[in-house]
Symmetry: C2
């Protein structure tokens, strides 16, 4: 029974890692649309997002089956709870990435302003953060989870910096306002992607240590 | 055993309803700070948010205990999963309401612009939506859950309308830009509160019907 439980837990964990991996593959596509006007890749990112949604439904059902069959306790149960709750975060990350791609496609008509703000760096950091988070999850690594939380501070700083720059462009020339607002929305979506990863990283810590705070 | 399970399920459901009720009580306080410059109520809203956080931790632990002890299946299990996943949504609603109150306190120095946008209506609708959602949850009422989802469309429309108005004020006078941006952020936080309620309402439907979509 213990072996069956462990194998089932490994399967849902791998499922969640794959789901997160799918979102991670969406990020460079969104970057390509946003930064290089590759609007033809919009359908590709939508298809990946549908995959994310399907993965969520399947892993959630599997988590509930594990609970019903194995009655896990303590750390095993915390792990199933971690995955159940993190599925919503990963699904939302996928949604925000699609929003970024769509706004990016709309901005493709008016590319000038976005050259000046550091969205590329933000997208890169999120990719690294996601990679780090997957390692933390796969290895039950609290240090990595905490590093992920720390990386989110940098994403937040980049977001603040981008917002400030965009306000400057608005003040310089009111004709920039609508473009700047859309870029602000892109920045905010990316900032949210980071927040959801931070949520998951905090749960990894709780899962491994049983402690809510560091 | 069935009776003990039912009583435990009722207890966590009531816990979640109370938690949602706490957030619902935060909304008029945020409105009072935002619309009537009652900045002295900021500590009150922070205290309510701490209550929400404590409720989350307690109900989550109780949900995990129920799963371990009772091994619920089918609709009972969907109910525990609904509550587990909705706790994060309710907790986030509390956070956003605090953000609104804080931005409201900051805007108290510069109240003029906000008289013109319909944030009061948005806050009212969210209160009604929350009341409706609590009834849907308490009565396992799919029609009410769907009504909640419908109400979110109105909140989204109000948000779009507010954004458009604020852009107009920015274009009219660039000195309005920083105030308008802060009001946009308030509008967005409120829109998010609505989104989280919609998430929960969708799960209520799934819990009762076992169907993901209407």
């Amino acid at each position: 029974m213990r072996e069956a439980l462990e194998s089932d837990l490994r399967a849902v964990l791998n499922g969640a890692l794959n789901m997160l991996g799918t979102v991670e593959r969406m990020l460079p596509v969104a970057a390509d649309i946003l930064l290089h006007e590759r609007t033809e890749r919009l359908e590709e990112i939508r298809a990946l997002d549908r995959e994310v949604d399907a993965q969520e439904a399947q892993i959630e059902a599997e988590c509930l089956r594990i609970i019903a069959i194995h009655q896990p306790v303590a750390r095993d149960l915390r792990m199933v709870a971690l995955i159940l709750k993190s599925l919503s975060d990963i699904e939302r990350m996928g949604d925000y990435t699609v929003h970024v791609a769509k706004d990016g496609a709309e901005l493709a008509q008016a590319p000038a302003l976005k050259r000046y703000v550091n969205l590329a760096r933000m997208l890169e950091r999120l990719g690294e953060m996601s990679h780090n988070l997957r390692t933390a999850l796969a290895d039950r690594d609290v240090t990595r989870a905490e590093a992920t939380i720390g990386m989110d501070d940098e994403v937040d700083d980049l977001y603040e910096q981008i917002q400030r720059e965009l306000v400057t462009y608005m003040l310089e020339d009111p004709r920039n306002i609508s473009k700047a607002l859309m870029l602000m929305r892109v920045g905010r979506s990316l900032e949210r992607v980071g927040d959801h990863m931070e949520n998951i990283a905090e749960r990894v810590r709780y899962w491994v240590t049983g402690q809510r705070e560091a």
